[in-house]
Amino acid sequence: MNDCKKYVEMISSMVDGELTAQQETELRTHIDQCGECAKVYDAFVSISDVLDDDLVAPPETLAKGVMYKINLQKKGGKRFVFGRYTAIAACIALVLVGASHFGLLNGSNPDTTAPMNLSKAADNESVAMGSSFGDSAVGDGTTSGTSGDNRTDEPDQTMLTSGVPAIENTDGSVLLFGFASDTITAAANNNEAEKEPMFLFNAKEIRVFEGKYYTEEENKDKNNLLFTLSTEEQLSAFSEFLTALPDESAEYAPEDAEIIDKDPMLTLYVPADLEKDETAKDKIISVWFVEGKLWCVVADADTPKSTENAINEKILYKAEGLQDKFEAFIEKIDKTDDIT
């Protein structure tokens, strides 16, 4: 048996073709005489055969996806940053989450001059909305804190999970990708290029406006605040949600200007956390709804020219599949004429 102990390890090496001819002869002689070692040999060979002959073809989009990404980063002259898109995606999801989970649609902000039809709609519809959004993966994800796992298994949830990522020529120029990466790590890195999404993680308050956000000089009174996330509970739920998300992103194409020149459907306003970073600027995230996809662009709040930002910084997010939820949302808030 002592011999066998030596031989079984040699069997492993023999399966891998790592024995000298002499060793192999010795081992084969032993296997011929030892039933137990013969069984080990059979088992190791079978495992090896199975692993070896079971190669599956990779998805056809793999090579093209890699090349697309590489060409983009080359063109942009900037290392492609995974992670920031996730944060943006989360923000959009938060619009829904905020509306349902936190029941904030009823809440009006004393600073707002025009809560208008929104809160009216919310009064009538809040129960129905709560239940319909409660069924959504977005809602589940936030409450359970295991959103990533839940949603990954659901093929119909393509907005924040990538499904099997595919390149799709949606309008001749826009490709969609799914990326999985450890986004929270990326965001937490002090790496200059990856700092971007931190403003979301650090947010002490997130204000959600209907339509465009107007800067001071334009006309601040026109702003229509829907709700604000500000309690610690809300923001930590938000952070938790952010960290559970996979990436999905696309980059700006010139044709996109047609869409993002128009007013967004929603705007998320994130005041900078000046305690942590004196130089931080307030950010706004503009949200559009285009052919079943959600788009968003991040910009500094004092220069909310979304198109310029998309071109210069290539911060553009396009996500598929949340159309139904958003349509329901828009219906509820009695605003169907905006983007579609």
Binding site: E18, L62, A63, V164, A180, S181, P246
Partner: protein, 203 residues
Amino acid sequence: MTREEEDILIAQVQEGDNASFELLVIENQTKVYNLALRMVGNAEDAYDMSQEAFIKAYNSLAFFRGESRFSVWLYRLTTNVCLDFLRSQGRKQHGSLTYMNNEDDDKELEIPDDRFSPETLAEKKELREAVNHGLMSLPKEYRAILLLREIDGLSYEEIAEALSLEEGTVKSRIFRARKRLCAILTSDGNFSYGLSSKKAKEV
């Protein structure tokens, strides 16, 4: 693709010819993808891992000195991308999927039953399921090393180089990985994977 062809393509990429990189991707994607697939256990993550590995390879190709084969270097990148991913997953799940603790390494190999003998080998498909299932129960480092050997066909020497290990360590880890895999299959009743479960249902 011969090593010479590979070297030419790499030189072309380093000079800025992206089309050559695509050829390298196409040449290596099956092995990279299958390595990732068995490392992470599902197609969706495997796709992401493969893509990340290739993009990493591209971005660090400037540092590739051609001391090893490009494929070996690429498999190492893939393995590391997958291990990082699994570690982050492990943190999220607050638990380890590791089937056994390290003490089991010192136990003697259980002798597999007859099911693996070529004469009585159960349907290969069943065995394949059992092995793939068992793989996911292996500690991820063991899984990685076994897969570099089995899927990517690296020699012990190449694995040692790729993972910065001694060749002797590679040899013993591969053996341990197989030993554990046998133990997992046995204890799951997976040497009779399909059969035992079918019987159970009938009763």
